[in-house]
Structure formats: structure tokens, C-alpha cells
Symmetry: C2
Subunit: 184 residues, 2 copies
């Protein structure tokens, strides 16, 4: 273990764990929980798949069906918090982000790289959330027109390390990610 | 596998997995993610420990430090969504709840049952979230006056089963939990 007071090393650990989620299906960061606020002001959370993480740009990327409830929520309030609990290193990551939704021609190249089997996640008839008479009364469409990319620009990263004693730090884009310790 | 169209059996599975979290430290439902809306309207999410789940009453219970950010959020907007991803059965549970915060004499008996080591989670000096000069510049107080119980009354349960093909259903307190299938 390095110096427990080294903020830069702590942030480095956070980014290591985060980027691992993009490449490694078994990494904790592969499946963050994405929290949003519904159009009528209620908290919502669901599991998503981490598709990209770029430290230089300060962004993470998630793909979703444009008919899903999170799109309606993000159109109303373009903010999401991504939550990851990485048990292996006892680290909770919370990324406060501003979210841009992109569809159509601008993401055609990304769509072309989505494997055939994974395309089923985009587009359904009727659309996701519709009440149906029995469990399987729907079709998956694998529809490019329903493919939406969420570009989540990170405003703040909070890391909570449940080693003994606990450590917590907050890093903000606004102050160049220098970070500060917080009471856990 | 029972009849995939049996809504009652699906809800029963959800409650089985949920209540397991209270007794079994290794169950997925032991550590839900609690999503709230901050006083200034931003989504927030953090891991919590499930302390109670009562199907008859339609409530789940979480304990927290009264100085934590979630208390300020819940005082402003008394709603939380609890999210659980139970990998073993490929089931996502989302509980939409109204939250009541209780402290002091009303929860003295619950406090008396909190084991000594776990009491450190309640109370810190300075209070949680305060900026501090180095990682360990705080004390944990094990303070009964900082022990808060969140009683989360469930308004809706959404279950998403990632078996093939996926199944999704929503159960509402308002209609007696009879439930309906939804497009996943």
C-alpha cells in the first residue's frame, strides 16, 4: 500500500478500476448503476454497461435504447451519477456527470462496431416499459434508429475506500482534479 | 422453472431474494444501491446495508448516520429507489419508496441491538463530507444521537429477469401488488 495521503495515487486507483470495466467483462466497473431523476422528480437507478472511459477527456460512455425510461429522464434533466462498488479493492466510485445523448448519423460508426447479438438491446416493439398481456409479448428489433450513446462528462469523482480506517476524497474537474480529503 | 407467465411466482422470487439480504451477509440484496435526489436536484446513489424487509408491511429498512448527505436529500425529497442486481438469479430489483426518517427515543431499542463494532458507522467529527487536511483527520463517534432509521415504504417493485428471453414486471402497492408484464 502506498502513502494513504497521496491524493494523486488514490485518483489513479479509481481510474484504473474504472477503465478495467471497459475491457474486462468481469470487472466491477463493467456494470455501473446509473442514477437519474425522472421527469416528475423521482430518483431512478438501473444497471448499465460501461462502454468507454477516457481519463484525458474526463468522460465515460454508455449505450442505451432510445425508447428506455432513462432517455426521457435525461432529456428532462441531463445529469446522471454513475455508482460502482468494486469489492475486490473495497472501493466505491461515484461519478457525477452531465450527459449528452447522441443518435443517428453521428453514432453510425459506433453502431457498426456493436456485435450482432448485442444489437438486440436496441429497439423493441412495443417500446420498453409498455404494459403487455404476457411476459414474452414483445419483439426485439435490433434497430439502429433506437441506438443512443450517452456521453457522460464527469464533473466530480468521489472515491470511498473501505479499508480500515476508511478514506474518502472528492476530485472536481473545475479545480483540475487535484482533489481533497473528506470525512467518510 | 415455473410458468414464465406466473406474476405471483415472479413477485415471490423477488421477495425471496430481497429478504435473503437481511439475514445473509453474502446475498446480493445485502447491499442495495440507494438512489435519491439531492436538495439541488441532482441524482445521487450510494451503497447501503439492508437491515429489514417486511413483505406484509411493504417496507424495507436502512440505517444511516444522520449527518450523511442522504439525510439532507431525503429531508428535501422523501423518496428513494433501491436497486439490487442479483447475479445468481439474473434479477434486477428496483423498489420505488417513500422514506420516513426516525431518530432518538423512537429508535432507542433498535440502537440497543446494533453491535458495538457497527456503531462506529454513526457519528463522525467533523461530520461526514467535511473537507479535511489529510485522509484520517477525523474521529468516528459511535453516537446514538447520529443513528437514523430510514423506513422505506414500497410504492412499486420492478423486476427485470435477464433470462432468455428477458421478462419484466411492475407491481404496485396501489393495485394490491397484482402486477403486470412490461416490455423489458
Amino acid at each position: 500500500m502506498s502513502d494513504p495521503n497521496d491524493l494523486a495515487a488514490f485518483l489513479e486507483l479509481g481510474w484504473q478500476r474504472l477503465t478495467r470495466g471497459v475491457a474486462d467483462r468481469r470487472a466491477a466497473a463493467r456494470h455501473p448503476v446509473l442514477a437519474t431523476v425522472s421527469p416528475d422528480g423521482f430518483p431512478e437507478a438501473r444497471t448499465v454497461v460501461l462502454r468507454g472511459a477516457n481519463r484525458t477527456g474526463g468522460v465515460v460512455e454508455v449505450h442505451t435504447d432510445s425508447g428506455s425510461d432513462k432517455i426521457a429522464s435525461l432529456q428532462a434533466r441531463p445529469f446522471a451519477q454513475l455508482h460502482i462498488w468494486d469489492e475486490k479493492v473495497q472501493l466505491q466510485l461515484r461519478l457525477s456527470t452531465s450527459v449528452e445523448i447522441t443518435q443517428g448519423a453521428a453514432v453510425a460508426q459506433k453502431w457498426s462496431r456493436v456485435p450482432g447479438g448485442s444489437r438486440m438491446a436496441y429497439g423493441a416493439s412495443p417500446k420498453p416499459g409498455t404494459a403487455i398481456p404476457h411476459a414474452h409479448a414483445y419483439e426485439k428489433l435490433a434497430s439502429e434508429s433506437c441506438f443512443a450513446v450517452l456521453t457522460c462528462t464527469i464533473r466530480q469523482i468521489e472515491l470511498m475506500h473501505l479499508a480500515d480506517p476508511h478514506r474518502c476524497a472528492v476530485f472536481k474537474a473545475d479545480d483540475g482534479w487535484c482533489g481533497e480529503w473528506r470525512v467518510p
